[in-house]
Symmetry: C2
Subunit: 521 residues, 2 copies
Amino acid sequence: MAKEKKVAGAGSRPEARLPKGFRDIGAAELAQTRAMLDTIRGVYESYGFEQLETPAIEYTDALGKFLPDQDRPNEGVFSFTDDDGQWLSLRYDLTAPLARYVAENFQTLPKPFRRYATGTVYRNEKPGPGRFRQFTQFDADTVGTDNLAADAEICMLAADTLEALGIKRGDYVIKVNNRKVLDGVIEAIGLVGQENAGRRLTVLRAIDKLDKFGPEDVRLLLGDGRKDESGDFTKGAGLSPNQVATLMEFIERASESAALMRSAARSGDIFNNDVDQGYFVLREGGSFYQSQLCIDGHQELETIRGLLRGAGYGMNQIIIDYSVVRGLEYYTGPVFEAELTFEVKDEKGNPVRFGSVGGGGRYDGLVERFLGQKVPATGFSIGVSRLQAALNVLNAADASAPLGPVVVLVMDKGELPRYQRMAQELRRAGIRAEMYLGTSGMKAQMKYADKRGAPCVIIQGSDERDKGEVQLKDLIEGAKAAAAIADNKEWKESRPAQVSIKETDLVAGVREILARHGVTS
Amino acid sequence: MAKEKKVAGAGSRPEARLPKGFRDIGAAELAQTRAMLDTIRGVYESYGFEQLETPAIEYTDALGKFLPDQDRPNEGVFSFTDDDGQWLSLRYDLTAPLARYVAENFQTLPKPFRRYATGTVYRNEKPGPGRFRQFTQFDADTVGTDNLAADAEICMLAADTLEALGIKRGDYVIKVNNRKVLDGVIEAIGLVGQENAGRRLTVLRAIDKLDKFGPEDVRLLLGDGRKDESGDFTKGAGLSPNQVATLMEFIERASESAALMRSAARSGDIFNNDVDQGYFVLREGGSFYQSQLCIDGHQELETIRGLLRGAGYGMNQIIIDYSVVRGLEYYTGPVFEAELTFEVKDEKGNPVRFGSVGGGGRYDGLVERFLGQKVPATGFSIGVSRLQAALNVLNAADASAPLGPVVVLVMDKGELPRYQRMAQELRRAGIRAEMYLGTSGMKAQMKYADKRGAPCVIIQGSDERDKGEVQLKDLIEGAKAAAAIADNKEWKESRPAQVSIKETDLVAGVREILARHGVTS
C-alpha cells in the first residue's frame, strides 16, 4: 500500500523510507547484541578497564581525519556547522574522541588510563551488503604508557573475550604485527622522506589487500597498477621491479611463517619456539633487514611474544604474523587483528571464512596532537555486528525467535479492567503478558496472538466468567494439532490444546503451558 | 598545563574541548544508568512491548518538525545534506522515527504494534544547566488502536516503572489530561479556524508555564504580554479580558481539582469517586462547557479513569489533572505526565521538587502524514538523566563510588609474565584485577592504585618470590590506619593493613580483604 501511495501522493506526503546505509533493528537481534555486549563488558571490567562515554558529536578539528581510504577531504565523515560557525562532526570511531578526552583531562587522570567504551559510530561512506553507515564498536584502550606489556595484555583481552563468547580455541586467532617492521622494509627499499608519503600509503594499502586479492594482484598494485574484472584500473605505487621483488619476498615469507605457526598450533605444538619466533622472515632476508626500524619492530614483537607465552597464551590463540597491516594511518607500533578462522557455508553452499572481527594497535601520536607532548597509547576495537553475525552462525541452534507475551483476549469490552487485572497477575508472577489493545473481534485477536509469537492466549467470555473459569489455549500445541489433524485425529483429542481452569489457578495454568515449551519462570 | 598550551600552540594544535551542550560520562554514572535502564526494560517487556532500534539519522522530511518552542524553521534539529543533496537530520526524539518505521512496514506489523525503544536524541538548542544537546530517552508506544485501554495501560506502565525503580507511592504521580478538553475550552472562547492557529499555540504555551510562572504571569501571557525581571518583553496571545477570564477560571478550577485529589490521596482516600471525577471543573463552569470537543475529551478521561481504578490504580498513583498541557503540537487526545512530588534540598538548602521526569500522549496524526490513512497511536517517554538524578537523591546512601580493581604491582620488570598470571588467576576467580602497566616506580604505582580506588595491591619482590609468598596491602584499612596513626599507634599494629601470604593462597587472601569491605565474589 505504501508503494501505491508513493505515486499517488508524492507531492503532498513525505515518503516513509530510511536513508541508504542505515537500518532498523528488531527485538531478537537487539536481545542477542545486549547479551554479547554484557559478556564483553564482563571480561573488560575483569581486566580493570573502566567505562567512559563520550558524545556522538565532536568538533571536527578535534576528531582529525584518520579514516582509511580517505583520499578526498571531507570524505568519510558526517559534518555540519554549529550556530557559531564552528564545524562539528559525528564520531567515526571511538579512538579519536578518547584522545580528545585524555588531552582535555590529562592532569587528573590515573596514568596509565584504562577505559572501555561502546557506542555507535558513523561513516559517510558508500554502503554495501553488510556495510552500514551507522554501526557499533566496542573498544578498550590503555593510554599513557609505552610498556609493551600493555600491548600484550590487549591481545590476551581479545583472546579471553572471544573465548568468553563461546568461540573455541582454534576457531579464532589473534594476529600481532608491528608497523615498524613493514615501515623498516619500506625504508630499506628507499621509499623515504615526505615526498614518498603518498606512495608509502599506497604500498600499505596494496599489502593490506593480500587476503582479498592474492599475491599476483598485490604485485601489480605495487608496480604500475591493476585492472579489475570490470575493467576499472587502479593506479599502483609505481615501484621499480627490484623494489617490488624485495617487498613481495618479505610478504611471501611473512605469509609462509604465519601458515607454519598455524599448522604447528593445529598439531598441538603450541609453544614451539623455533616456529614461533618467525626469525627466518627477517634473518634470511636480503636487503630489507638493514633498517634499524625493522630490527626495533622485530625486537618489540619478541618482547610481546615472551609476555604472551609467559602468561600461558599459545600459538593456538595468539601468533606473530608479519603480514598484518591494518589500514589506519595513525598506528605507530604493534598492530592487532582478531580473525575467526572457522569455515561456514554461504547461501550458495560455498565455504567462506568470517575473517576479521576486530583490530587495533599502538598509536603514540593521537594525544600528542593536542598536548604537544608524547602520550603513548594502545587499544583494540571490536566490530560488534560482524562478531554477532559470526556468533549467530556458531550458535545456529539458539537462534530461534524467543516466545512472545501471553495475550489476554478481550471477549467483552465491558470487562477491560478484569482482563487487565489478569495480565497484571501474570506480570507480577514474572510472566510477560498483555491484554489485547485493539478493537477487533476474536479471529483478528487470535491472528494477533500468533503474530506476536504468544505461547498461549487467555479467554474468558460471560459463560466462563459466571463459572469463575478461564480457558487457556496453547498456541504452539494448537498449531501442531492443526497440522496433524488430517491423519491423526485421536492425537488431537488426547492432548487438547485448550483447557478450562479456575480463574484463581491462572498463574499455575500458564506456567504449566510455558514449562511445556521450555520456559520456566 | 592544557590551558597554557592552548595559548602557546593555538595556531598549530587543535584545542581538546567538547562542543557546548555535550558531556562525557564516567563509569559510576554509566553503571547506574545501565541498572536503571535494565529495570525499565524489565517492566516494559513484562507488558509485552518489544524493543526496536532505529538509526540516529533520518531524512529530514520523514522526521517532520514537531519540537516545542520552535518558532523558526530549521531550529532545534541538527541537519546536513547527503551526497545526493537530500537533507538528513539527527533524530530529536524516538516518536518521529517510530512513525516512519510503522508507515514503512505497515503491512507486516502486528496491530496494535507495541514497541519500546531507548537511545540518544539530539536537540540543536541553547544548552543550560542540566540541559544538554544530546540525551537519552526511553519510550513505549502502542500504535494502531484508538482503544482508550491503550492510554490507560501507558499510565499503569509509567506507575509500575517508577515503583520498580524504588520510588514510593506518594512520591510520584502520573497526571492524565486530554488535549480535547483544553482545545474545547479554547474553541468555546471563539479562538477557532486556521487564522487563529498561531494564537492557539501561544495560549497552550502560556498555560504550560503555570507551574513555572504562577497564574498572574499566565494571565499576562494570555493578554498583551509579560515583561520578565531582566526587562525582556514576551508578546502575549492578545486575548480580550473576557476570553482571558474564562480561560483563567478553567485553569484555576483545574488546579484546584488536582489539589483536592492529591489531598484525598494523602489522607488514604484513594478511590473517592466524588473527588476523582473532577466533574465540577466542567459542570459548574460557564461558557467553556458548550464545546462538543470538551465533552468528548471529558468522557474519554472518564473511560480511562474507570479502566485505571478498575485495575486497582488509585489517586495516590494516577490522577486526572485538567491543568496538564504538554508542549508538543502533535498530541490529539489524552496526554500524560509523570511527576516526582517529593521535595529535596538544593545546594543552598532550599526545598525543590524534581517535577516532570516523563510524559506522552495520543498522537493520531503522525503515521497518517505518510500513509494518508488514520493510524492512531499513544505513547510515553522517560527523560533518563532527569529520572536518574532523582534516583540518586533518593538513594544517596548507595551513591559512593564502586571499588576499583585489585592492582598487581610490578616490582621486577623481568617478571611481568608472573605478575600477569597473578592478575589472571584473580580474574578467573571473578575478581577484577590488573597488572600495573606503566613504567614508574613503587611510589607512583601506589598512587595509581589509590587513584583507581583499588581495594588492595599485591606486592612480590625477589625476597617474597624466593619464599613463594606475596604481600597484600589493604588500601582502605591502610588509609584508615594512616589517619589514625597519630593518636592510635597500637590500633594500627593490631590490625595491620599489610600481610604476607603464600602465593598459592592469593585468591583466598584477596577475597578476605574484599569481604572486609563488603564485596563478595
